[in-house]
Symmetry: C2
Subunit: 390 residues, 2 copies
């Protein structure tokens, strides 16, 4: 599948330099690194990496990079990754999941803490990442799931995967593992997002499962460069990617203090659909789900039909989607708001867009041609509209 | 416990005549009988019974009574009831649950079909009916409940009964029976409302349970005179009384087409709290509960704490309640709306009441003194307020 956008392809040399720069950046900046992400958006990855390496950067950026800025293993990491069967996917790549990650950037611009998008993703598996996020659903839950929870997770994952829905999860024991296995069993796509490096061998009991995911058309991905061990805070940081990359998150089982609830909360903050599966009130593993439904407005889902009805357009003709080569790189907060205000089909005047986005009309007029260059907007008879891909 | 209202007590002779009249009326009019209820509100029970007996009544009333108006077993029913340990409770009695039944009358005046209050209630048991409805909760559910459903019903009923909450249910097998038994085991009050006569021996397997309820401080009640057999439509008609007489209804288990859902729907239409207990999505007996939560806005309750939080003031100091000797008899739709607009403590002007109730101010001024006579309103420095009982 090739992209149909009209912007010029960056040269292979450029891409290689950008990949090397981002290899340095993901090693140096522990995610989420909002200041580094902003800095890269301003300067581009190559110049930003150079400035950080030299310590010649704003203090916010320095705070996020000072501890490791001399860890300059960029090429070594790329070589080691290649040896281990990983590739470093960067926002400059065609298959970067720019569209779903826009939710993180928008949340970050709204001040949601920790919502910065990733600087790059280490990936195993041969599927295109952008395709694996199309109408994806996350299925997450307790590590200490009951037989009921594992059954439901596997069942939902299989049924959704059979309908072409990619299943995202966190590769943990319990619900996560059952979800990945269910999707694999149905011959579907599943994506495991890890809170450690792809070569950390974690969780130990799921090493074979992760190999299978990478081999059988799925993806295993992580922000963390080779050798990074798992850590509690990394699971929480990872959760934002599960939430952002899927259209909705289903919590199958969760105790009172489950990490799955964190994913659900993040999904809600990103404007994604949050669903929870009920269970026996006598089960400690359903307490979190019931609280999500009762107190946090999660939608109860008791069947695949419920999930499809809730997530919306699954099983119906897919809507046209705007995709860009690098939307997250080019767009500042104003451009994001202008872009959000565009309709896919119907044109709008600059005045109308200004009114809807709250961005001053002069600024809207300046931003629109930039969005057009980025393949994110186009002129039409009635004004401007979002760029729709066939 | 004596009433503190200031209206004159009806004489014992009057009460006897009214009871005899209503014994005739509940025999003649299959509930719900909205036209007969209105007719009795206008003429009083004695004159209304006489007119119906003579066939000298409006056509709507005749429609509801024509089939049985010659079944004049009023005294025989009272005698037979007494022999069987039943009494006929009538709205003219001090212990009539006038306040909770107001919800039915208000719903009827809003045009909710089938919401007419009962003309009288046949009762077994020695507790005062009005006290048994104070902050009551209904626990209902599938006859073919699972072990899980019976466990939850019994558990909730016991825990609530221990906190002084009367438990209402329908005496059916499964959830209903477990709820009654749980309340009895906790030494609490439980009320069984039947869709047949108290002497129908139905359900056969619960005859002993019903005897125990009547003996151990609970109540067994029905609109149906001695000898009335159970019928499907009578269960549905009975459900409105369970819904009206309790502050909230908990559905513990319900299949896709459960009668418990009918009670829940009615409770919602009466403005009562509707709660549902989740269960395994693999259980057909929890489908109805999940649908109620997902589609009908029922509140998920997974613990007694959830129930108490949802129903509100359980376990907190009880609010003062307005009670009247015969509020349902005296009040037309306007008076009901005016009464609804009164505050228990703070006085309001007639203009304010008119604005809030939508009843013209001249009519408000006419209705207020009538409400005062009925002990439902009182004058105060700042206008009019609802009559509060110490």
């Amino acid at each position: 599948m090739t992209s149909s956008h009209t912007a010029p392809e960056p040269s292979t040399d450029n891409l290689a330099a950008e990949r090397l720069a981002r290899s340095y950046l993901v090693r140096v900046a522990e995610p989420p690194a909002p200041a580094v992400v902003d800095f890269v958006a301003q300067l581009g990855p190559v110049a930003a990496a150079e400035a950080i390496r030299a310590g010649d950067c704003p203090s916010r950026v320095r705070d996020e990079t000072e501890a490791r800025r001399t860890h300059d293993h960029a090429q070594r990491d790329l070589d080691e990754g290649a040896r281990l069967g990983m590739r470093l996917l960067i926002p400059e790549d065609d298959e970067w999941p720019a569209w779903p990650l826009l939710s993180l950037q928008l949340a970050a611009s709204r001040g949601v803490p920790g919502a910065a998008p990733p600087l790059a993703l280490w990936v195993r598996g041969h599927t295109r990442f952008d395709e694996a996020t199309e109408q994806a659903v996350a299925i997450v839950g307790a590590r200490s799931a009951t037989g009921y929870g594992e059954h439901v997770a596997g069942d939902f994952a299989s049924a959704l995967a059979r309908q072409g829905v990619p299943i995202f999860s966190g590769a943990a024991y319990g619900v996560d593992g059952a979800a990945h296995r269910g999707a694999l069993a149905a011959g579907g796509t599943t994506v495991a997002l890890l809170g450690c490096a792809l070569d950390a061998g974690y969780p130990a009991g799921h090493v074979v499962l992760l190999d299978k995911i990478a081999e059988l058309g799925g993806l295993v991905a992580s922000e963390y460069p080779p050798g990074t061990p798992p850590a509690r805070h990394r699971f929480l940081v990872r959760n934002r990617l599960i939430a952002a990359l899927s259209e909705g998150t289903i919590v199958v089982e969760a105790g009172r203090r489950s990490g799955a609830r964190n994913t659900a909360t993040t999904a809600g903050a990103l404007g994604k659909v949050v669903m929870a599966v009920p269970g026996p009130i006598t089960s400690a593993m359903s307490i979190g789900c019931h609280e999500l439904i009762r107190e946090s407005g999660a939608t109860l889902v008791a069947s695949i039909d419920d999930v499809i009805e809730t997530v919306g357009r699954l099983g119906t003709p897919r809507p046209e989607k705007v995709r860009s080569k690098r939307p997250t790189d080019g767009l500042g907060p104003d451009a994001l708001r202008v872009h959000e205000a565009l309709h896919k089909r119907e044109g709008k005047s600059a005045e109308q867009i200004a009114a809807e986005s709250g961005v001053p009309v002069a600024r809207v007029r300046a931003v629109l041609p930039a969005l057009e260059l980025d393949d994110l907007a186009e002129r039409c008879e009635s004004g401007w509209r979002g760029r729709a891909r066939r």
